[in-house]
């Protein structure tokens, strides 16, 4: 692929605008709450789009197109089963505690509900995980642009890190959220023509069905047994592993996404944040998965070969170079660049918040002035970007290290939802139960991985193993937390108001019109989601 001056002009316009947004927001960053949580004054439609965009990184866009090319419509389970139900749950059931408790972060909620050690465990693993994810993002971006455009790896890493640093340093979370919303529209405008053109060329839905392997066009029909579908998974693994443990574990407990809802202007806006996000989320498969399938249907499979190996991640770049003339190519590349950069910014802003509130303020220098913590947040932003650059270079040297790190962190995340579920909905749950249950759940995930690695347990696919590992880790955490809780002393109820379901006043919206109530939005989302599952069953 070769870019011309118009493409560079479009990329330059985007960079100029994101930096301009940072400079414009600089004067609004007066307190630490402004910097870390946008002063809690963002309207729901913006936090909603940021909520979805924080998850719509370039790795997700390219990865889902790749998965579409490899597995077909089965990939849609990551959306219609593996995201929407959890997004509804976090909005309707969990947001009253997150937002209502005035916790500034997910680890802080854990301290309010349980104790310091549970918060410490979550804060430290999250901070390390987030900053490394940011580095992986940077590394992947540099590698992709080197491969498709021949850009220098060093220049890509440094220039994009500088742009991200400047706008997050100046405008904090607001800058990050604004750029995520910009990125959302860029992805839509940058990828939509590609989606339409590829499906038209493939001969529409029926044309694709005729060219693709059997089983590619259905989501549910071939899930009776793992051998019957290209993913090697069955319906239980999809529903319990992906749809319940992994999906709820991510959408309901990952501070990167929850932080967007905490920046909302009131409880109603915070509850509607994930529900509004669910609407575009349901339609993203049409933007990325179906074009991935179309790419596999129309392109010679040899074009997916990179360095002698089949690389499905080439699906989207191949379509870009096939359809886009100079100019549109600039828009498509800007969309990818924007989603890489805002992915990194999202990680950096989540990192600086957890670092400042949950680690620095708690363990290093408590009791300082708000100005001090605002200053620390800015220092953490610079530190986060520098560690990301370092991590990107480590990944360049030892690519596999990052894969292993991600795997280790998945051990921590899988059982976390059990801790939250029990903590929020069973008032007896004790701090010791939560802490040891969480550790045991993570250890169970590690043990399961060890057993899989040594072939003591075998699966049809890596994905089937991942889903089963999540179910095993979650169950271990759940059971152990319950058992330890029954043998330890619970906290008095007077300390749990606003933190657990039975002791929290539920927000009522009877004074609002039906259209403005979160429950109405949730019903609309459920109906559309079930309809999509039914149509593509």
């Amino acid at each position: 692929m070769h870019l011309s001056w118009i493409d560079y002009l479009i990329i330059a316009l985007y960079c100029a605008f994101v930096l301009g947004v940072g400079f414009k927001l600089k004067k609004s960053m007066k307190t630490s709450l402004d910097f870390f949580l946008s002063g809690r004054k963002i309207p729901a439609w913006i936090t909603g789009l940021a909520f979805i965009s924080a998850n719509l990184g370039a790795l997700e866009v390219m990865g889902m197109a790749a998965s579409g090319a490899e597995y077909g419509m089965l990939t849609c389970h990551f959306y219609w089963v593996g995201a929407i139900p959890a997004m509804l749950f976090v909005g309707l059931a969990m947001m009253p505690f997150y937002y209502g408790s005035r916790a500034r972060s997910v680890p802080e909620y854990l301290r309010l509900r349980f104790d310091e050690k549970t918060r410490g465990l979550n804060a430290i693993t999250f901070a390390v995980m987030t900053v490394l994810a940011s580095g992986i993002n940077l590394y992947a971006m540099a590698l992709l642009f080197k491969l498709i455009l021949g850009w220098s790896i060093h220049a890509t890493i440094l220039l994009s890190a500088i742009v991200v640093l400047v706008y997050t340093f100046l405008g904090g979370l607001t800058s990050s959220i604004y750029n995520e919303v910009l990125q959302f529209f860029l992805i839509v405008f940058g990828i939509l023509p590609l989606a339409v053109l590829s499906v038209v060329e493939a001969g529409g839905w029926h044309g694709m069905a005729a060219r693709l392997p059997s089983g590619f066009m259905n989501m549910w029909s071939n899930l009776g047994h793992g051998a019957a579908n290209p993913m090697g998974v069955d319906w239980f693994q999809i529903v319990a592993g992906l749809g319940f443990v992994l999906s709820f574990g991510y959408w309901c407990t990952d501070f990167l996404v929850v932080q967007r809802a905490l920046a909302a202007q009131d409880m109603n806006a915070a509850q509607r944040t994930p529900l509004i996000a669910a609407i575009p989320k349901m339609f993203i498969p049409f933007l990325v998965i179906i074009p991935g399938m179309a790419a596999w249907a129309i392109l010679p499979h040899s074009s997916f070969m990179v360095a002698g190996k089949m690389d499905y991640n080439m699906a989207l770049p191949l379509l870009l170079s096939r359809y886009y003339p100079a100019g549109m190519l600039g828009v498509g590349i800007t969309a990818l660049l924007a989603s890489f950069m805002s992915g990194m910014a999202g990680n950096v802003t989540a990192f600086n918040t957890v670092w400042t509130y949950d680690i620095y303020n708690s363990y290093i220098k408590p009791g300082q002035s708000d100005e001090h913590y605002l200053w620390m947040g800015k220092v953490a932003t610079v530190g986060g970007v520098l560690i990301s650059i370092l991590a990107a270079y480590v990944a360049l040297q030892f690519g596999n290290i990052m894969d292993y790190l991600q795997l280790i962190f998945s051990f921590v995340n899988a059982p976390l939802f059990a801790t939250f579920l029990l903590g929020m909905f069973w008032k007896r749950t004790t701090a010791n139960g939560a802490f040891w249950g969480l550790l045991a759940g993570s250890a169970a995930a590690g043990l399961h991985y060890f057993a899989t690695m040594h072939k003591w347990i075998s699966y049809r696919s890596v994905m089937a193993g991942n889903f089963d590992r999540a179910i095993f880790a979650w169950t271990t955490c759940f059971v152990l937390t319950v058992v330890i809780t029954l043998f330890t002393k619970p906290r008095p109820e007077s300390e749990l108001h606003g933190l657990v379901y039975s002791l929290t006043e539920k927000p009522t919206y009877k004074h609002l019109s039906l259209m403005k109530r979160p429950a109405t939005l949730a019903v609309v989302v459920i109906v559309i989601c079930v309809a999509l599952d039914w149509v593509f069953r």
Partner: protein, 70 residues
Amino acid sequence: MSERMDLDIRWPIGLLFAAMGASLAIFGAFFTSSQKVWRLWMDLDLWWGVAMLVFGLFMIWGATRTSRHR
């Protein structure tokens, strides 16, 4: 809606899409005659540029309407 925001997000979105759309449409109209892609039944740069420009102007219109009501 966005009364408490320091910078109405529709301004940067609107201005960016208007600038990108206008650049793309002008390029499509005057510079790409030799680059037309055979698969397209239209000049993608020109028409998609117009679509982006219209979206950008719509966002700017929304932002100015709100700021006038303040």
